[in-house]
């Protein structure tokens, strides 16, 4: 089963991060990543750039509203993720516990859906369509 470890931080975390020696951060993250690669559990992971480079598209009104970063009133920022393939929920929790994150940061740990989660909807028109989309994608990838 796959779990996503979603890195989130509040303003304190962002401020603390600015104070840190960037090389020390790279080293700590690198060691953490390497431990998960050595254990054969890491399948994907990315970090995100500063929120000021990003923007938010909000829904609710008649048309979606685009707001540039860093989104003033946001309490928590999504800063990156790891995707790990583990044997149990507890193992996901144990890996999450070991992430080198500081004050104001949290990890949200969520199981990634797999086929079994959609088993009851296999005949749904859109699930069928998605298969078609994925097939197209696969063909494009194969040609590339």
């Amino acid at each position: 089963m796959k779990y996503m470890l979603i890195m989130r931080g509040n303003d304190d975390a962002v401020a603390a991060y600015q104070e840190l020696d960037f090389e020390a951060v790279i080293n700590a993250m690198g060691a953490y990543n390497e431990s998960m690669i050595d254990a054969g559990v890491l399948v994907a992971g990315e970090g995100l750039t500063d929120a000021k480079d990003g923007f938010v598209v909000e829904f609710g009104g008649e048309t979606p509203v685009v707001t540039d970063g860093p989104y003033g009133e946001t309490h928590e920022l999504f800063n990156g993720f790891w995707m790990i393939e583990v044997s149990s929920r507890e193992e996901a929790a144990e890996w999450a516990r070991r992430a080198p994150l500081g004050v104001g940061s949290k990890l949200e740990v969520r199981r990634v859906t797999d086929e079994s989660d959609f088993a009851d909807y296999a005949d749904n028109e859109y699930i069928q369509k998605e298969k078609g989309w994925r097939e197209e994608e696969a063909k494009r990838a194969a040609k590339a």
Partner: protein, 410 residues
């Protein structure tokens, strides 16, 4: 199972191998190291509910196990050099220094897969001490009682002791063969999960996933071994098809009939990257890498028709030369059938049959039946497929073969 049990199991999953490797360096005996680690696990189950899980649980388990070792040796008045070494370290405070050096992990792998052990002992011990599975988990994977796995592990430890197997790396002249044994244990584990030889289910993906995880660990421990990279490439590429290999009722779906949109593209990319790492070592492709290359041909093909069957034939020819086997030859025949037609392929299969290869296996008659069907020799095809069904040990597989025989028209 209580929460603490599950937490301790998760810690063992992550840290078990390194705890045992560290302890074995001191005791010089893998069996003793594993016993000590188990005592530490038992102590964790007792004390963590009140004390909480320590910040560094691996270090905690190692420290407790070392204390037990010293107590035991003191009791037995076995104040040897090893004892003094360990006792000194203990006083120095080991909390942050518990991690084994990389070679200890390799020693662990080589010892768990030592040639003095029977294959099933190697499998159980490797899953236990390298994979960090509990005995119950291993028993579930192999569909045998827990007591059976316990006995296998106890026996494996006794055998290692009886043969005075040192906790050491193989000698240089033994190295290639010993690497082969280690990779073979993981490969066998995967194949048993990938196409179960017995039982009700066609696949046991949990077992295959454990093998894949071990293969990833080995690829990291043996970065200079092309076949370690080849093995992980092969397993990633094979596993990328898991979702498509069974239909909703759990019946097998053969490669040609699979919905390729259900293949895991990210996993295919990981497999191809591993094959590139193998090639980058510049020492050629071994048997695993060649099989990975064949799997890669399928993985990148948009359809059965658009598959590069000629390349697959070439790869099977190369594989047949370095690792000749009737199964490889049979697979070559299947590829030949796709590349040039069923008649040429049938000649290869008939040659295998006349040599008496694969006697008693459903594989030969099932392929022969398919080829005859494509040649329009329906009666012979039906008879071969029925024979194959009678030989298949896996229930699901048997059902598919019988259905094929029944569906032949003419």
């Amino acid at each position: 199972m209580t929460d603490i049990r599950r937490t301790v199991d998760a810690v063992w999953r992550i840290d078990g191998a390194r705890v045992v490797a560290t302890l074995a360096r001191y005791t010089g005996d893998l069996g003793e190291a594993e016993d000590l680690a188990q005592e530490a696990v038992a102590e964790a189950l007792e004390s963590w509910p009140s004390s909480g899980v320590p910040a560094n649980p691996g270090a905690w388990l190692t420290a407790v196990a070392k204390r037990r070792a010293i107590d035991g040796w003191r009791r037995r008045e076995k104040l040897t050099e090893r004892y003094r070494l360990l006792a000194n370290e203990q006083e120095d405070g080991i909390a942050d220094e518990w991690q084994p050096i990389a070679d200890d992990m390799l020693r662990l792998v080589f010892t768990a897969c030592h040639p003095v052990l029977a294959r099933e002992a190697q499998l159980a011990l490797t899953l236990r001490v390298v994979g960090g599975l509990t005995t119950e988990e291993i028993a579930r994977l192999f569909l045998v009682p827990v007591a059976t796995i316990q006995q296998r592990i106890v026996r494996a430890k006794k055998t290692l002791r009886a043969a005075s197997v040192p906790f050491e790396l193989p000698d240089p002249q033994e190295w290639p063969a010993r690497v082969g044994t280690v990779l073979g244990v993981v490969y066998l584990m995967f194949t048993e999960g990938y196409a179960a030889t017995s039982g009700e289910r066609w696949m046991r993906p949990e077992l295959a996933e454990e093998a894949l995880r071990l293969a990833r660990v080995l690829a990291r421990l043996l970065p200079r071994e092309p076949e370690a990279q080849g093995l992980v490439a092969l397993l990633e590429l094979q596993a990328s098809r898991f979702a498509a290999r069974t239909d909703r009722a759990g019946n097998p779906v053969l490669l040609t009939d699979q919905d390729r949109s259900r293949w895991d593209r990210a996993q295919i990319a990981r497999g191809r990257a591993a094959l590139e790492r193998c090639d980058a070592l510049g020492r050629g492709r071994g048997a695993y890498a060649l099989q990975a290359a064949i799997a890669e041909c399928h993985a990148v093909a948009p359809s059965v028709e658009a598959t590069d069957w000629e390349r697959i034939v070439l790869l099977y020819e190369a594989l047949g030369r370095i690792a000749p086997s009737p199964v490889v030859e049979l697979n070559r025949a299947v590829a030949v059938a796709m590349a040039t037609g069923p008649a040429t392929a049938l000649a290869i299969v008939d040659k295998l049959g006349s040599e008496g290869a694969l006697r008693g296996s459903y594989l030969l008659p099932s392929v022969r039946g398919e080829l005859l069907a494509r040649l329009g020799r329906t009666d012979e095809a039906r008879s071969e497929l029925t024979t194959a069904a009678g030989l298949a040990a896996n229930d699901r597989e048997r059902a598919v073969l019988l259905a094929k025989a029944a569906n032949l028209v003419g």
